[in-house]
């Protein structure tokens, strides 16, 4: 078994504590994340999923509890939080809004430059990262503001990848993209995970997005992880998921309806491909 790379120990977080606006965003969360896992964090708006992942690289400090990265408490006084941020890379929602440099290439270089790497290494990293996200080379020297939405997003993701983090967190990487752009980005993330074997945490409110790619799903609701397991395990609770304002993938509904209608199908299928095979198997 791989080692735990991140451990959350009874972490709670409150916004504006002690005022009329106090909101408990995280409520006593304990989790462990293993090296090399591909995790999906799911929850509807306001469930605490974004707050949760921002704890993982120390951008938000928990009001209670501890977080350990590779066995070290990140709230220790002499812990280097800047180093942690290069180890746990974070791609925010609409990452294209963070682009600021005159060229795409320089913008991707920004992270490695802050890491204090020498110029040669910075350039090498930027090339690698831009290659990974599949941005065509003719855009490298263009202004980031001239790119299309999907290209901007790729460039922004490259900006985080260039730091070569051990853990990559992506907060709603497909928000605002068309279905093709969505599949492209998710496919790219999945390929990258396979190639580099790094830990990836994908935050989303869409089950469909996540089901096809991840090994493990954590479902957040009112600041707590409600379900935690493989997609198949989690989707068996599709009735409870619905009560939380989330939907299981459409195939889960189809398979359950087929079963209710008297067909002896395996309802654990999460992708269209699996569903097809399950139906064919039951017809034999």
């Amino acid at each position: 078994m791989a080692d735990n790379i991140l451990i959350l120990d009874h972490v709670s977080y409150k916004y504006s504590p002690g005022t009329a606006y106090e909101v408990t965003a995280l409520d006593d969360v304990s989790l462990s994340i293993k090296e090399g896992e591909f995790i999906g964090v799911i929850g509807h708006t306001g469930s605490g999923k974004s707050t949760l992942v921002q704890h993982l690289n120390g951008l938000i400090k928990a009001t209670e509890g501890h977080i350990y990265f590779r066995g070290q408490d990140i709230y220790d006084k002499d812990y280097d939080i800047k180093e942690l941020r290069t180890q746990v890379g974070m791609v925010f929602q609409y990452p294209e809004h963070q682009l600021f440099e005159t060229t795409v290439f320089k913008d991707v270089q920004f992270g490695p430059k802050n890491q204090g790497l020498d110029e040669k290494e910075q350039i090498k990293r930027a090339y690698e990262a831009l290659g990974l996200v599949g941005l065509p080379e003719e855009f490298y020297l263009a202004s980031p503001f001239e790119l299309s939405g999907g290209q901007k997003r790729r460039a922004a993701i490259a900006g985080v990848l260039a730091m070569k983090p051990a853990v990559i967190i992506l907060d709603e990487p497909t928000a605002g993209l068309d279905p093709k752009g969505r599949d492209d980005i998710l496919g790219m993330i999945s390929d990258m995970h396979k190639k580099r074997g790094d830990t990836v945490i994908l935050v989303s409110h869409s089950m469909e997005d996540v089901a096809n790619y991840v090994d493990r799903i954590i479902v957040m609701d009112s600041g707590k992880p409600q379900f935690d397991g493989t997609p198949k395990e989690v989707f068996t609770h599709y009735k409870q998921l619905e009560a939380m304002g989330l939907a299981a993938p459409q195939v889960t509904y189809v398979m359950n309806d087929l079963k209710d209608a008297g067909m002896s199908v395996d309802t654990s299928a999460t992708t269209v491909e699996e569903a097809k095979n399950a139906i064919l198997a039951s017809l034999k």
Binding site: A20, Q54, N57, F92, H97, Q98, F100, G111, N114, M163
Partner: protein, 266 residues
């Protein structure tokens, strides 16, 4: 971090003051300021303080919120107080080294600082009990007479409400971009002044870009819904006086009359 900044600092509660028409509150605040600065002796001053305490009680806003507004002007208060204390000529009470405190100076210093404190508390009650939108609505209605003089009152109040509406959005945006750049190893805290200013570039460029994008989107959205200025425009929730507002006006009038007759008599 940035989330904790409050501007326009509305405090939601259910009180008489919250349900008053903003025009009444604007008028009442104006009267309060006038009487505060024309209170020339201890009795009148005490009366103003009593009225203010009553209003604070009515507002259901914790007193600590009003004091918060004072924190930003502490330096100003101290400077104004000290200048009045030491630099006013009059009968010398105490003197040491090159400083001397006169009776008039002491009186002025106390009066000046307490007036400023009361002024801030009094006006902050208005902003704490009135949402920014109500406030601009009230201002637009109250200043409507200036339209005749060619002042674009509606346009100014529209700009004000849009600006107010955008403050929390831009604060949130700043917070987000700051976090995103920090996640890429940007450092906004350490270094000298020039280095700090340079480090702001990754924050300011995206912020400006997004501010312009939002402004552009908003103007399109407004035009798409046929907005063309204040001419002939009606409101979904027009300000209407209720019996509560009438009673409040009567209270203010009584206060004004009693205050000035007391001033003449005393």
């Amino acid at each position: 971090m940035l989330r904790d900044i409050t501007l326009g600092q509305y405090y939601p509660a259910n009180s008489v003051l919250h349900s008053l028409d903003p025009r009444v509150k604007l008028f009442g605040t104006l009267i309060f300021i006038i009487t505060l600065f024309s209170a020339s002796n201890v009795i009148l001053f005490a009366a103003v303080i009593c009225v203010l305490i009553g209003i604070i009680k009515l507002s259901h806003v914790p007193f600590s919120f009003m004091v918060k507004g004072l924190r930003s002007i502490v330096v100003l208060l101290i400077i104004a107080g000290l200048f009045n204390l030491f630099l006013t000529p009059g009968k010398t009470l105490v003197s040491f080294w090159i400083f001397s405190i006169s009776d008039v100076g002491l009186k002025n210093a106390v009066l000046m600082t307490s007036r400023m404190i009361l002024l801030i508390i009094g006006t902050s009650i208005m902003t704490l009990t009135t949402t920014p939108n109500q406030l601009t609505d009230g201002l637009e209605k109250s200043l409507g007479f200036m339209k005749k003089a060619g002042v674009p009152v509606h346009e100014i109040s529209m700009m004000m409400s849009i600006a107010l509406r955008f403050i929390p959005i831009l604060i949130e945006e700043t917070d987000k971009i700051m976090k995103a750049q920090m996640a890429r190893g940007a450092d906004f805290e350490s270094g000298g002044l020039i280095k700090k200013a340079k480090n702001m570039v990754p924050l300011l460029v995206p912020l400006f870009v997004s501010a312009f994008r939002r402004a552009n989107d908003l103007s399109f959205a407004m035009e798409a819904r046929c907005y063309n200025g204040g001419e002939g425009r009606t409101k979904m929730r027009p300000l209407k006086y209720t019996s509560l507002d009438q009673r409040a006006y009567i209270c203010i009038a009584i206060y004004l009359i009693v205050f000035y007759s007391a001033k003449v008599i005393l």
